[in-house]
Symmetry: C2
């Protein structure tokens, strides 16, 4: 056996063990899964010193290789660890997503159809420097009865090893198979699994746009996520000045590298005299680099000029593109041409303009008089967030545990045959919906 | 411009026109879409003679090229036409799937989140000889506000041209863009679109397993459907003999070429003496070819011997494989190894065996004491069926109009900023669910 085929056999073995474990998880009770999560929180508390020491080694080793913001993401401290542990207990406390009855229908006397939530099966999750992602993902996967194959950033390898060990010990203590959560050794393992729709049911890349794009391009397995967050804020003719400025500031500056931060502000021509100077006065002193269209430059000549590329750029930084539009039609057309279907917002006191914007914009989240930064699973009240999807199939927008579920139809009969419900003297169906008793 | 690039520009133009039309459809009222469907039913009534004449030409031209069962599918008559028209009126009568509020949550005072159903966008549907599929698919797409690009079988080209014309005239009469439903000229057009996830949101192949497999292998766009229907029926130790025989007969013979017909029957060892002779006595005189495992042959020596390949074969014909299993564990393991995740059934009077089967089998439909042939959108009460999916992502099992929908999150605020809900003195969210007012 060559080393390549031995690697491939090893990865296939991991994935098959995950599949076996997922079958076991699918039939567990809420209590069994919750117990494992509580044990995980306890394990993390007990291993605090080991974990922080391993993480310090990771940070030291990575210091010259990655940039300052990646180091920040990589670095764990007592506060981050406490948040991680609290996160696990919060997921444990969520209502059980499995085995819920979504539909209950009497097809005929003694022939009852139900639709019941079930796990997707095996997830493959690829994440970058944050080691806390490993715990968050494992908690969400276990809560929803899914097995998960994890590939973290190599710069976090020592931290991830301690965390994975804690997860697997918790599974063992709780009487569930350790293979439910496994690490993947290298990128070659990920590449191999991306070619195996029979072994992996859903791929979740968590990290940079480049990571997500490369994964999407490399697989036919469904990918949950978003490659780009080019979000717009439309300041309508009837936008209140103070509200418009406050919302743009929040949407740009509250967390500039977030995917739901605003990148381009579209200003109605009839309001630009009023709104543009107010935006400039508020944002420039806060260090925001403004890039304007020619009409903006006509009003505020010392702005930097925006190029065509600006309309398609997710800055992830305190930079904002500004464009004057003739009317709502032009704003909608610009969003169609340049938006990424993530989050779009309008600021207006005109109910007709708001209604039209909410009705016509095709994006996962469409807002009126609110900051784009609200597009988030926690803020939407989902308790835990798997990610934000810009795809239209399966889950869209901020995705909670629901995105990790499928369903099965169960039919309980008493000997019914389709023959009796077919042909000229067919027995009719009742199709009576019944209350959903969980 | 070469002829190839001109073809490609033409196809891209069709798809972009479909995208434009889909935007228009997304904001239409239920009445507008229903009107078009009623006009379509009227159009089909008026064009009956033209359609049947075109179809007769198709049948004549195809007579030597395709087999008898394909000719049957291709051929239209007054009864099929009446059913087609009735089908359009039934879809028109279904409740409006669009704009439904699926979630309504007060995040805070004056900050309300709703989740609202919306169309997927542009569908690409590939179907084989049945021309009635064109009308069924167009009706489902229009009802759900989706545009659709259709490629029918070339043997039905004359029939399809008349039908497409009727659809486009109905759209025009109803004031909606004709480009909402368009035909694709050839297979090269389909191949080109399968490479364009930006132009097509969902691919629906309707036809043979070979068609579905070739499409799935050729695209990264989500595909709704199933390549295989290898369905099992487990006859448990506690199966009633008469019920077991009646259900196997129905599941095999009521429509042998259906995807939900049974292919393999797994018989509990402790009941095989009783059940196997009863099955043989019932099915052999009806012309079913039985293929048995060695244990079956030990009991009924004149059965044909099953080979390993039989366990993985969808016969689509009155052929049935029979295998003796030691217990429910072995039956479940056989289904895991050979099932296609479509429909699996158990016949038993033992409630524990039934409960375990329903809990553990991972398939879109799992049945107790009912024929596998019930796995169908009409029988489940969905009114109209898009197809049956064996994927776990998005829609699973028989798919009604729901499978052609996505959703958008709409947030209506009054100037809220995320900054106020963050940090140490964060304002808490209310997250109060409200009644769903449509």
């Amino acid at each position: 056996m060559t080393s390549e085929s031995s690697h491939s056999a090893h990865i296939q073995g991991l994935a098959q063990a995950a599949r076996e474990a997922s079958r076991r998880l699918a039939t567990t009770s809420s209590e069994q899964r919750t117990t494992v999560l509580h044990r995980l929180a306890d394990q993390l508390e007990r291993r605090a010193a080991t974990l922080l020491a391993a993480n310090a080694e990771d940070v030291l080793a990575a210091a010259d290789a990655i940039d300052a913001s990646s180091i920040q993401r990589l670095k764990l401290d007592a506060a981050k660890l406490a948040a991680m542990i609290q996160g696990v207990r919060s997921v444990a406390a969520l209502p059980d997503p499995l085995h819920r009855v979504q539909l209950r229908r009497e097809l005929d006397a003694g022939l009852e159809l139900t639709r019941v939530a079930c796990p997707l099966g095996v997830l493959c999750v690829i994440f970058e420097s944050r080691p806390d992602a490993l715990i968050q993902i494992s908690a969400l996967a276990l809560k929803s009865g899914n097995a998960v194959l994890l590939k973290g950033g190599s710069e976090a390898s020592r931290s991830n090893a301690v965390l994975l060990d804690a997860v697997q010990d918790s599974l063992r203590e709780g009487g569930l198979p350790e293979a439910a959560v496994q690490g993947l050794p290298d990128r070659a393992a990920v590449a191999a699994l991306l070619q195996r729709p029979d072994l992996v049911d859903l791929v979740i890349p968590r990290g940079s746009n480049a990571l997500v794009q490369s994964i999407q391009a490399a697989t036919r397995i469904p990918v949950l996520g978003h490659a780009e967050g080019i979000c717009h804020m439309v300041l309508d003719q009837a936008a209140d000045t103070a509200m418009a400025v406050a919302l743009v500031r929040d949407a740009k500056l509250q967390y500039p590298s977030a995917c739901n931060a605003v990148e381009t502000v579209l200003i109605h021509r009839e309001a630009v005299d009023r709104l543009l100077p107010a935006l400039v006065d508020d944002l420039c002193p806060r260090g925001v680099e403004l890039r304007g269209c020619p009409a903006c430059l006509g009003l505020v000549p010392d702005l930097q000029a925006a190029t065509e590329a600006d309309w398609d750029t997710e800055y992830g930084a305190p930079i904002l593109a500004l464009k004057v539009v003739a009317d709502l039609d032009e704003a909608l057309a610009h969003i169609r041409a340049h938006g990424s279907g993530h989050t779009e917002a309008i600021v207006t006191d005109n109910p007709e303009a708001a209604a039209r914007f909410l009705a016509e914009v095709d994006a996962a989240s469409v807002f009126h008089n609110a900051s784009t930064r609200f597009a988030d699973g926690f803020r939407y009240g989902f308790g835990a967030e798997v990610g934000i999807s810009t795809g239209r199939i399966h889950a869209r927008g901020p995705v909670g545990l629901e995105g990790l579920l499928s369903y099965r139809y169960l039919l309980r009969g008493s000997g019914q045959r389709v023959e009796d419900y077919s042909g000229p003297s067919a027995r009719p169906f009742k199709h009576l919906d019944r209350p959903l008793i969980p």
